[in-house]
């Protein structure tokens, strides 16, 4: 994740970038929440594009049309 954080300048900015990208992916119908609004983890985690870099969401929850992030990773991407 070092290069990812470096791209955005700080951990906070990187987190916000992922948050924004996740919300956009949700609006575009690219995320797969279950019936309870929970997003998948592991190798089924949704992969989103954040500023040209792929990021895999680890869990997360959809509420009122927004994604509440749990965690994310760039492992293997």
């Amino acid at each position: 994740m070092e290069s990812f954080v470096k791209k955005f300048g700080s951990q906070e900015k990187a987190y916000n970038a992922v948050q924004n990208a996740a919300n956009q992916a949700l609006k575009a119908g690219k995320l797969t929440p279950n019936a309870k609004g929970i997003l998948p983890s592991g190798d089924m985690g949704n992969i989103i594009n954040v500023g040209g870099m792929n990021v895999r969401l680890i869990g997360g929850r959809v509420e009122n049309g927004q994604v509440i992030l749990s965690s994310f990773s760039r492992k293997g991407l």
Partner: protein, 113 residues
């Protein structure tokens, strides 16, 4: 180093129904540390002895989960998790909440949904 607790063992045993080779690794695992993040936890493992048989995935470096929710008292939405596999070995479990603060306490009466 510590033994795996009931939840950690349950996670790995449930994953083993999908990835049977995990069962071979469980007896060799010890908990190196548990890092509470405030919204989750990292359980870091080490192997007490070398194991020849690595976990057989398409790649030696991946993250796996059964995508179940762990229901525990005190968390409205429960916990999610994934297990990190690096170089064919189990490196850590990441436990995450779904937007709730968590102090890392795990009661014995959890269940998977």
């Amino acid at each position: 180093m510590e033994k795996l607790n009931k939840l950690e063992m349950s996670i790995l045993e449930r994953l083993a129904t999908k990835y049977p080779n995990i069962k071979l690794h469980i007896p060799f695992l010890k908990v190196e540390s548990r890092e509470i993040t405030g919204v989750g936890m990292y359980v870091n493992f080490s192997y007490c002895k070398p194991i020849e048989e690595t976990l057989d995935f398409e790649t030696d470096n991946t993250s796996i989960s059964t995508n179940e929710t762990i229901e525990i008292e005190g968390l409205k939405y429960g916990l999610g998790y994934e297990v990190d596999v690096t170089d064919g070995r189990i490196k850590f479990i990441e436990l995450v909440t779904y937007g709730e603060d968590w102090n890392g306490d795990i009661p014995d009466n959890f269940f998977f949904t």
